[in-house]
Symmetry: C2
Subunit: 551 residues, 2 copies
């Protein structure tokens, strides 16, 4: 697993991270190139500089690049020149990249605003560790001073030049930001499936017709190898495990998780690609094979245990303490480092302008903190000028954060989650509650909730405009509609809704909705098939019945 074609094991070539510069326009300087390049360039620049109508439009120079552009008015031409310099055979893209560093620190130190560089409790990422000494959460902390050595324009250009390309591993949306994610890992240890770089769908029709908005976008994180945003985090976790297995073969022999859904699918796929054994713990008789077909197909050991979900969680913790099995649960802070790149990618896709609002479905609440981290890092390193306001959208049937928000975040209380179609966020006692509260307080965030009917209707309404949304995305869309109705989000606000999984993972709920088989739900946007006879007239009547304007 090293490339997407561009370079194979056998045929690994050095390629600059930069794209080939390219000039989509008329021939202007055509002369043959002598072996010394100085002459024609001198000629060209002297020519340009001598012309009165020529002026320098922009120039930039950084530690590693020099570029300038000139415009030449009479011919309506512009000319830009860039100089690219790289050290032959240098693997590291940056001379000071050895200073980049990320470590585990207690999340409580992050929350208290402590100076993380002099943090007393800090751990190398090569340690196998899930909790701080206090038993609390960990956080991956980057040496921001080292990253700041390279200015924002450098990072923007680097990220822009990488994502979507074939140079391993930088074509991935996650690994195009490698220095901000896991700076210390060798490229060859990375396990990647070209995740990220997903469509930022302009919801033109849904925005205009349903929300009265012109600047509404849906980030399609579910359009990914295993069909959910979990790939973004799992590529980081499994890559680090892949590294650990080389450093400490005895200490890390497999990876385990207790999950019924997207997490186990992503974990097993990435492990399968890397040849790492994976183990999924599940309560017996609670889960159908269809929900588990991804880890099963990817060769994970799926253990069906005669207990409930909490029993599985207790057991996997004991197993990972007693054996060389790495624990890939939702407490894991490595995964958030991958997930945060979706926020960086949103900024990048808007040419480094920050949207006004970002709406994220929330259950265990790791992802909202991951988005906060991504936006914060862009802001702190000067790539963007402000923070967006984050909205966490919860199912009303599993809404502990919403309740806490309404009470000013005082006295958070877990709830017993009721069944919701948004099954991946059906969580009453979220692991990352403190992370989410920090994120929301820091960016004047909002929490909204959606009932089952609201979330299913919102998903169906958006599907009519070309999407195919999972119920979790439905929760976020329903939150958007409520915030628009209340005037909290203005018609002109640039808003991004985060779609967390592909609708193909949740077809059962869609079938139930469009069959009007959901008890107590109107399913008012159901669009069932229309039965007609094999007759031209009958068919045309049915067509005109649906599309009245059809002649």
């Amino acid at each position: 697993m090293r490339d997407w074609g561009g370079e194979t094991l056998k045929r690994r070539k050095k390629r600059a991270a930069a794209a080939p510069l390219l000039l989509p326009s008329p021939a202007f300087i055509i002369f043959s190139l002598p072996s010394s390049p100085a002459l024609p360039l001198l000629f060209l620049f002297s020519f340009l500089a001598a012309e009165e109508e020529t002026r320098v439009c922009s120039k930039s120079i950084s530690q590693s690049s020099l570029s300038l552009s000139l415009s030449h008015a009479p011919k309506n031409l512009s000319l830009s020149l860039s100089l690219s310099l790289k050290k032959n055979a240098s693997k590291a893209p940056l001379e000071k990249s050895h200073l980049f560093n990320a470590r585990y620190v207690p999340f409580s130190d992050v929350a208290s605003g402590a100076n993380l560089k002099s943090c007393k409790e800090a751990y190398d990422l090569d340690e196998v560790l899930y909790r701080a000494k206090s038993g609390g959460l960990l956080d991956v902390s980057h040496d921001m001073e080292a990253l700041a050595i390279y200015g924002p324009e450098y990072w923007k250009a680097l990220f822009d030049a990488r994502a979507g390309r074939t140079v391993w591993p930088f074509g991935s949306g996650v690994w195009s930001k490698k220095e901000w994610v896991l700076p210390g890992i060798a490229d060859d240890d990375i396990v990647s499936m070209f995740e990220g770089n997903s469509n930022l769908f302009w919801a033109e029709r849904f925005g205009r017709d349903v929300c009265g908005m012109k600047d509404l976008w849906v980030k399609q994180c579910g359009n990914s190898h295993t069909g959910s945003f979990k790939d973004l985090g799992m590529t980081v976790l499994v890559s680090q495990v892949n590294r650990l297995r080389k450093l400490k073969p005895e200490a890390v022999q497999a990876v385990g998780c207790a999950s019924t859904g997207d997490t186990s699918a992503a974990l097993s796929a990435y492990c399968a690609a890397a040849g790492i054994p994976s183990i999924v713990f599940l309560p017996a008789d609670k889960i159908s094979l269809a929900q588990l077909v991804q880890p099963i197909a990817n060769g994970a050991l799926v253990l069906s245990i005669d207990t409930d979900f909490d029993g599985c969680m207790r057991l996997i913790q004991r197993v990972t303490e007693a054996s060389p099995i790495y624990l890939a649960n939702s407490m894991n802070s490595l995964r958030l480092e991958g997930q945060k790149t979706a926020a960086i990618e949103i900024c990048q896709q808007f040419d480094w302008e920050v949207p006004d609002w970002v709406i994220i479905p929330g259950g265990n609440l790791g992802n909202i903190y991951a988005f906060y981290k991504g936006f914060k890092m862009c802001f702190d390193l000067g790539l963007t000028k402000r923070m967006p306001r984050l909205v966490c959208a919860q199912a009303a049937n599993a809404n502990p954060l919403y309740r806490a928000y309404k009470a000013g975040y005082e006295n958070f209380e877990a709830v017993k989650a009721q069944t919701t179609f948004a099954s991946a966020i059906q969580i009453g006692d979220p692991v990352s509650i403190d992370r989410a509260v920090l994120a929301l307080k820091a960016c004047d965030g909002i929490v909204e909730e959606a009932t089952e009917e609201e979330l299913m209707d919102a998903a169906a309404r958006a599907d009519r405009t070309g999407m195919f949304n999972c119920p979790h995305t439905g929760v976020a869309l329903a939150a958007l509609l409520k915030l628009r109705e209340r005037g909290v989000i203005a018609p002109g606000d640039r808003t991004v809704v985060v779609s967390t999984a592909h609708g193909l993972k949740f077809t059962q709920s869609k079938v139930a909705y469009h069959s009007r088989e959901i008890e107590g739900m109107g399913c008012k946007l159901a669009n069932p098939p229309v039965a007609v006879k094999e007759d031209l007239g009958a068919v045309m009547d049915a067509i005109r019945g649906k599309f009245a304007s059809m002649r």
Copy 2:
């Protein structure tokens, strides 16, 4: 539907198609830039040219670009310089782009090797037309002389600079090749969901462990908006329909198709995004709602007609003749223009080197011809130096092309297709038979078949290595295994298997396989859950049972 964030309606900026050039390396030339740029450049190049150890490594000059690179031995440095030139405010990237043109011509003229530029029967793409005068297939023919005005290096650089980026519509894998697809369409008429640019997965483990190959790749075309490669073609068809609806509002009021699967899903999603009514014709009681949930969710009018599939086909042809409904069936040659970009993309992902073999599942046989067209266009325009050998992989239960191949393509006979898990290629009388025979003859192609057990086993075996394959991809993987066994494909041959859909669209067959519920099939790679008690020892025993090396 115009952008992926980079430029909105309100904030449309001019951006060069080129990526920002970028120099991942040590500071070398740091001096402040005077308003005339000639001096420091003169200084720099004089300095370099004067040094004995400096030599010019490469230089290239085309009608629109100039680049050169120098290496400077003592300091182990290389320097590259590019000049970029573009015309301000010019929408067209190419001065001679008005010469680019694509028209419909009879496929029979393509097959006979006629000079297509002077073809007597030719039609503008803005005509609503499905067949040639003879009743035969049409083909979209490009003015290759006009495209050849720009050299291969130009096209390579242009395509490389576009795919995966945010500039509308060129970030799409299809529309990054717009001039080769639909040169005449306005960017604003394009209906795109960032399709293409899919992962070219290096099947490292499957290649090494199962096939004894080091250079095996799987092109993940199913990782797409609606989950199948059909998006590649449908973005082209729906974009052209979108254009036609503006040119001829009365003539094109809706789009219809008779399809049970991926085609109707792609059609309805793209139509929904553009606000175009879509209609799906289906035999009553033959199809489950689950198979149709995508068009239903996307708001298509799904007609359930009391006839069989052939009856639906007859009816939709009458309906489209009698009404302003555009026919989006598999005869349609526009779709192939989008699908061919997957072949161009494969070349691009291999830095414009051509793989030895490309294996493609085949039913209606349009896609194998589309791949041929893509590879041929790269070859004819000088971007690549040869053609790959194509392999068409058919299910043994629906193998008319395989039978014809065995008989030297003489006297093709349709068959009655038997049920196959590879339901999208369960076709006994393929529309594009002539297209496929042309493609296979031209590139010394092969046809192979796979039984139900072979295709399910092959898919399951590959899933174990991190993929999640649909049964059609299973057919192609099984064909690969047979060709390796017979020594037709050598261990070192660079081989690409085309995966046509996401496995999430075909979970039922996977569930059946892993439950060992398929009659008469061994399901020897089934990996069902293992039941254990809630006990640390029992769990560890189960783990050691699966992973013997675990301590």
